[in-house]
């Protein structure tokens, strides 16, 4: 989020005038080095120690594959929900005025403010047979707790703000003249949205969707409460890694963790690329 503004603004002269480079740089590098880099290096080294063949064997073991598949599928389901819901919320919050709008806007931050374990507890109890939602759904044969739907719902809840909060500012800044022109020319409202508005917010929307997917893949706290964690069925990949740790199977844990880390880094690169493109698009428009 910061990288776009980063490069240009610092005057070269400042280097000579302002003090404190050595001190602040030293603190920054030590902190990042000890707190962030060193542990990640430990994981990478452990992964390298396993060797490609064993690594592959661990990743393609049926239980690991089942866990990875569940994680990816549920995260995709959660992301589809958030793509639609996030777009709806961004649209409604930017374009319409109605009583309670500010409260609705503030509510969008709750999933980030609420600890994930709390969210997981609340959702699993709500959807349990004696909970408010479960009491309605269970008799109709719709099971959420201990199924992929529960996993997906928990993931969706914890990543709600991403799409809303990335699309919202872009929608606010959108120049209304193109839409007005389209209205004047008699375009159908939905055509205007599809042909004029959506292309303009698409880059930001894609960034939000990518971030939402990445967060869903990594979500743990909310999911473990509602998933039931049955091997081969509702066990997410990060939980399997923890189980391997508890079994003192450090290779197994490291291989799964490293795979998840690689997926996360690829998604980070994708979102940075999309962000750079979105900024370029914006720059051209201005």
């Amino acid at each position: 989020m910061t990288s776009g503004v980063a490069a240009s603004s610092t005057p070269v002269r400042a280097k000579r005038v302002l003090p404190g480079f050595g001190l602040t740089m030293g603190i920054t590098l030590s902190y990042v080095g000890i707190v962030v880099l060193l542990p990640v290096v430990a994981l990478v080294l452990k992964g390298a120690e396993i060797g490609p063949e064993r690594f592959w064997a661990i990743i393609t073991a049926p239980r690991t594959l089942a866990a990875l598949q569940l994680t990816l599928t549920a995260a995709a389901m959660a992301t589809v929900f958030n793509a639609v819901y996030g777009l709806l919320m961004a649209w409604v919050l930017v374009r319409y005025d109605f009583p309670g709008k500010r409260i609705l806007d503030a509510l969008m931050d709750i999933p980030f403010a609420l600890p994930t374990a709390v969210a997981g507890l609340a959702l699993s109890a709500l959807f349990a047979a004696n909970g408010w939602y479960g009491a309605v759904l269970e008799p109709r044969g719709i099971h959420v707790v201990y199924t992929i739907w529960g996993v997906a719902f928990a993931m969706a809840f914890t990543s709600i703000p991403f799409v809303v909060r990335t699309v919202q500012p872009i929608l606010e800044d959108l120049d209304p003249q193109y839409e007005q022109a389209a209205i004047t020319l008699g375009a159908h409202p939905f055509t205007i949205f599809r042909r004029v508005v959506f292309p303009a917010i698409l880059p930001a929307f894609m960034v939000g969707v990518t971030l939402s997917f990445a967060r869903s893949l990594g979500e743990f706290g909310a999911v473990v409460f509602i998933a039931g964690n049955l091997p081969m069925k509702t066990e997410i990949a990060s939980l399997l890694a923890v189980i391997r740790l508890e079994e003192y199977d450090y290779n197994g844990a490291a291989a799964i963790a490293l795979t998840l880390l690689l997926i996360a880094l690829v998604l980070l690169a994708v979102s940075n690329l999309l962000q750079a493109r979105a900024l370029r698009y914006k720059g051209r428009g201005a």
Partner: protein
Amino acid sequence: MSAVDDITPGALAPPASRAVPRLLIGLALVLTAFVVVVPMLYIFHRALSAGWGVFAQNILEPGTLHAIWLTALVALVTVPLNVGFGIAAAWALARFEFPGRKALLVLIEIPFSISPIIAGICYLLLYGRTGLLGPWLSGMDVKILFAIPGIVLVTMFVTSPFVVREVLPLMQAQGSEQEQAAVTLGATGWQVFRRVTLPNIRWALLYGAVLCGARAVGEFGGVSVVSGSIRGQTMTLPLQIELLFNDLNIVGAFAAASTLTMLALVVLVLKAVMEARR
């Protein structure tokens, strides 16, 4: 009202029909109620379902009290360290050009992309018995894993980008003219920071600290790996919730959860106040 709507993009529907906006607003309200509001209300409903007496009893239960104390301790250690780091990193990155600056920016943001549970596993592999530093540390009788230092370190990992991310863009936007002027007039580095920089960034700094604190208090995945979940010793409040849940003490779990929910609501109010002031 409707005369203005004719030309604003909000009125995509023809003025005669306000059906589409009504439908969309209604859908947004209903979905948000079901997905966000009800789960939150449900926490208080269940926490108080057996009455205020039981609620108080659950909160004052020694395990939960200890968890509250430990969680506060972790936040009180993490937040000041993170504020210090945030200021240092923002100063170095906003005020100087150096090779590798972009790479450092990416590195600082990385904990946001790494799932906390993976961070926990990294720490276990680093400080564990067979880990990179494990044997050396146990030789010196330093205990990091399954103890408070490990919990603090993982929390520091997870929260490390929070303060920088708020302060850095602001410092870049403000530029360094005022600071340069102060230096030219003979101020020392510390004086420049305290008299010029700090007043300019204080709200962003406070905002970052609040977000960092909220995250530190709520961290679950990463902490659950390194804490070892020793009852009455290394249980933070989120871990205590899981323990009570697994012990089938659901009302107790919700009582503990309701304290964190209250805290989250306070953070949201603080956020709204501070966003207005920035």
